[in-house]
């Protein structure tokens, strides 16, 4: 039987090589392209009618819009409106990527650490640049916990710096590990269905059905967590404490 990790294999569809670097169009790239198609195309089309009384698709687009708008309003405040497009894109990209991964035989590009890490690291760099642009060198005061006595600084400042630097790692590993673990678990239990056969195979089948529901919830939740943490980081950069 195939390994449960086989589903994460990157398979080249169109080999492309520029300057000795392999940038082939792979199954991962295909799912990203479909994500763009669904996320951009459907949302743009659904919103294009602009009906006063929305139809089904328009309702979904508006619900997503108001969901993210509400999230930003609650975490960053009125100032967060400027970051709405980028957070909405992040959320949609991860959400659709996760959901597409739930389709059997498809591929989950968010289950690859390099993808989640690039996204998290970009957020990290962007937020840091934003912090410096907003506060200049005063941004370093972020690493001094407010109200801490002076003699605690040598201990607290390294802790704060480490915690700040570990943000992109925790952000990327959280998403990657959730996707990896969920899909691996589904695959392993699916293997049990075949191993136990017609006699007792329906037991893991029931379990896998329930777990698929859970995985869909996690697919949504991780996109939400990624978006809300990005919001919180932006808020930190804007207000320091």
């Amino acid at each position: 039987m195939a390994s449960p990790l086989e589903q994460f294999e990157i398979k080249t569809i169109i080999p492309i090589e520029i300057g000795g670097v392999d940038i082939s169009f792979t199954n991962s790239s295909l799912m990203m392209a479909i994500t763009v198609l669904i996320g951009g195309g459907v949302v743009a089309l659904a919103a294009s009618r602009g009906a006063i009384v929305p139809g089904r698709f328009q309702s979904i687009a508006e619900m997503l819009y108001e969901f993210i708008a509400g999230l930003i309003r609650e975490t960053i405040g009125a100032e967060g409106r400027r970051y709405f497009p980028i957070i909405f894109t992040l959320f949609m990209f991860i959400l659709i990527g996760n959901m597409l991964g739930m389709i059997p035989y498809s591929f989950t590009f968010t289950s690859h650490i390099i993808v989640t890490f690039v996204m998290a690291f970009t957020v990290f760099i962007g937020v840091t640049v934003l912090g410096f642009a907003r506060h200049g060198l005063h941004f370093f005061s972020f690493f001094i916990p407010p109200g801490a006595p002076l003699y605690m600084w040598p201990l607290l400042i390294p802790i704060e710096i480490i915690s700040y630097l570990s943000r992109p790692i925790s952000l990327s590993v959280r998403l990657f590990a959730n996707m990896l673990a969920g899909h691996t678990m589904l695959k392993v239990i699916a293997g049990f269905v075949f191993a136990l056969g017609a006699l007792a195979g329906w037991l893991p089948l029931l379990l896998i059905t329930a777990l698929t529901g859970l995985e869909i919830l996690i697919a949504f939740l991780q996109a939400y967590v990624f978006a809300i943490l990005t919001c919180l980081y932006i808020k930190d950069a804007l207000e320091l404490h």
């Binding site: 990790l5 743009a44 508006e62 497009p85 894109t89 289950s111 690859h112 993808v115 690039v118």
Partner: protein
């Protein structure tokens, strides 16, 4: 574990950046402005509808109070009209009664006069008859025809004594 194979990293990062930027541009430039426009339009529509509804409600209140006023006025008018009509009917009835009484009185007077006339006529008739009877009686008794003048005067004297 395929995730730890650095040979695929360049391709993944390249396509991630490309697709993410494309998605961001589509959403940022096309989709999100459309949605926010729609939402704004809807909010405006709702606000204006609510304002119009309030206006109409106020108008309806005005109409209702005007109607009630009109109704009260009409009711009092009707009351007055009814009163007037009743008075007119009463006056007419009284008038009828009075004229009827008058006519009855006149009729009864006329009747009285007629009765009186008839009586005097009857009496006059009687005197003629009585004169004839008296003359014939006198002729039979004394065999002479008396003077009609003296007979009538005697009869008149006798009748006058009766009445």
């Amino acid at each position: 574990m395929p995730q730890l194979d650095p040979a695929t990293y360049a391709s993944q990062v390249f396509w991630l950046v490309v697709s993410f930027v494309v998605l961001a541009l589509i959403l940022w430039r096309i989709a999100l402005p459309r949605i926010s426009n729609t939402l704004e339009n809807r909010q405006q529509r709702i606000d204006s509808d609510i304002a119009r509804a309030e206006e109409i409600a106020a108008e309806a209140d005005g109409v209702l109070s005007a109607y009630e006023e009109e109704l009260a006025k009409a009711r009092s008018n009707a009351q007055e009209e009814l009163h007037k009509a009743a008075e007119a009917v009463m006056a007419e009835a009284e008038q009828h009664y009075a004229s009827l009484t008058e006519k009855l009185a006149a009729d009864s007077d006329a009747a009285h006069q007629r009765i009186d006339g008839a009586r005097t006529e009857a009496i006059a008739g009687i005197s003629g008859m009585v004169e004839d009877i008296a003359r014939q009686a006198v002729e039979r008794l004394v065999d002479t025809s008396p003077e009609p003048a003296s007979v009538s005067s005697a009869v008149n004297a006798a009748l006058e004594g009766r009445t």
